[in-house]
Amino acid sequence: MEILSLKILRMQSLGPDHYWMELENRFKKAFSPGQFLTLRPSPHIFLRRPFSVASASKTSLGILFRKVGAATTILTEKNPGQEISALGPLGRGFPIDPEIKQSWLVAGGTGVAPLLFLLERLMKIQKVSFFYGAGCQPLLFRDLFPQGKYRLFLATDDGSCGIAGPVTALVEKQLQSGEKPEVIYSSGPLPMLQAMNTLGLKYKIPVYVSLEIRMACGLGLCLGCVIPLHQGSSIILKRVCHDGPIFLAREVLWKEITTFTRISNGL
């Protein structure tokens, strides 16, 4: 974990309200897929903001973000060459089991960010299928996908690209066809993650989800991001920033989470 002032290398508009930002990577420790960092876009906004790392090389870190409020609006006004305070790597990434041969990645909207990074990693060692859904064609950022060996399934709500409907329907169709991965990794809006959990339970496939929740410190200090999890027969409290943001979907108490947050993040 380090706090650094990093130069912005690139800033690119991807489509409606979505941006791609590249920062120089001077972190000593490498990020693994699913981990995040926090940025401070302006001294006039109090809290740092968490963002998943969407790509990482020795020299640069890629972030895919959506403009939703004050901090992300200020981010869109940044120019290459400016510096920004970055703190990371934070959280634990997606668990990757070397025994596993076939995994599915299921992304909804802006939630595609951490899965792009995971894809980069997994496609070299596993058979990977990537399911990707968004509201409409301009919100499916296909340019961000790496070249390589994996299958890409696309869905849009309005049918403007790929099949029409939620990405989870696409996943279920594929499951119904008899195909079955050993593990599913998913990231996106809560209702989608809940649907993925249901599918995972139904088809007996472990599903890992990346959870988003309001954070204050991102460091495990404030206990602001704590959620209850089933573990064995008991319920335990975990910090999303420190113990997550990746959790096994079937351990999450979905009702607890969905009653307080309806994050309208894409899809």
């Binding site: 401070r40 200090l221 704590v226 947050t261």
Partner: protein, 317 residues
């Protein structure tokens, strides 16, 4: 600054940033506030602990406590509302798993305590004394510990009673009392704590606040911290400094070295870093640098000469 005072300081061999809070000697006036620095251990890989004079632990209670359901956080203009609800591991786990490691970090350790009854608080104090804890901070501004439905820190009488009892249970060592700004007259509560034998006061705890989440049609009720409340914290320290003779740990909204100097100038002997740490984990170092810079600029040998400089009225003595 009279030459004689400087000579006296040199004689006293004060190191420049050292301050005393009752019997507790801190190498710097920088105190990590309760609840915003975890159990003090989490940051070992990120920051240097040298600039830190003391760490106040997350408030612990006799038994572990789950805290409040989500949502627990809401950002406001220049502020943060939290409603963690004193989630903590409880005394036993604290003593077994946290305390031994905490002690190896370097800074002084101040254990923050709260309970539902005065017996519970005294029990905590006794146990912690038995484990040779050097300093306690009584979180009496915590809405969980109520007597006849009143938060203790809202009443001088309740404060006096509770502090007196804990004083007896924790003799000879540093006993701090943390006060609330959500009170008509904080100085009179401060006076009660002084009369009951406290060694120092920590002010302020968070400001009662509420946020409305129109999108999810819910309200978030909790305590406000951050730069928004700095003017409230400064006011409280300013007023309490005039009324009591105890050393004060001033906090609320400190996000830079200048903020720390402001607190010291109106009467704080040490400063607490709370949610400002979230935005900038380098803050403890920055505060120390600013204090050293100020000593250099003014030519003063010790930070203690700056305490209360802009709080003209003589303190009662």
């Amino acid at each position: 600054m009279a030459y004689s005072r400087i000579k006296k300081a040199a004689r006293d061999k004060l190191t420049s940033l050292e301050v005393k809070i009752g019997p507790l000697r801190l190498s710097t006036p920088v105190v990590m506030a309760s609840g915003t620095f975890g159990y003090g251990l989490e940051m070992k890989n990120l920051i240097n602990y040298r600039p830190i004079g003391a760490i106040v632990t997350k408030t612990i209670s006799r038994y572990s406590w789950p805290g409040n359901p989500q949502p627990r956080l809401w950002e406001t203009p220049s502020g943060l509302i939290n409603s963690i609800g004193l989630q903590n591991v409880g005394l036993d786990v604290f003593l077994r798993q946290k305390l031994p490691r905490l002690r190896r970090l370097g800074p002084k350790i101040i254990v923050s305590i709260a309970g539902f009854t005065s017996e519970e608080v005294c029990c905590l104090a006794r146990e912690l004394l038995a484990h040779r804890v050097e300093a306690l901070e009584m979180n009496i501004s915590c809405p969980n510990l109520k007597s006849k439905n009143k938060v203790v820190a809202t009443s001088p009488r309740l404060t006096y009673n509770l502090v007196s009892q804990v004083r007896k249970a924790f003799p000879g060592r540093c006993l701090l009392v943390k006060l609330s700004p959500n009170v008509t007259d904080t100085p009179s509560v401060a006076k009660a704590a002084e009369d009951a034998g406290a060694d120092g006061l920590t002010l302020i705890n968070t400001v009662k606040a509420l946020a409305v989440d129109l999108h999810n049609q819910q309200v978030i009720s909790g305590g406000l911290s951050g730069p928004a409340i700095k003017p409230v914290g400064l006011r409280t320290v300013y007023e309490v400094y005039r009324k009591v003779n105890l050393p004060l740990i001033g906090l609320g909204g400190i996000t830079c070295g200048k903020d720390a100097l402001e607190y010291i100038s109106v009467g704080a002997s040490a400063v607490g870093i709370g949610s400002g740490f979230f935005s900038n984990p380098l803050l403890p170092q920055e505060v120390v640098n600013a204090l050293l810079g100020q000593l250099k600029k003014t030519g003063l040998p010790s930070i203690t000469y700056l305490i209360g400089r802009l709080n003209e009225k003589k303190r009662p003595s």
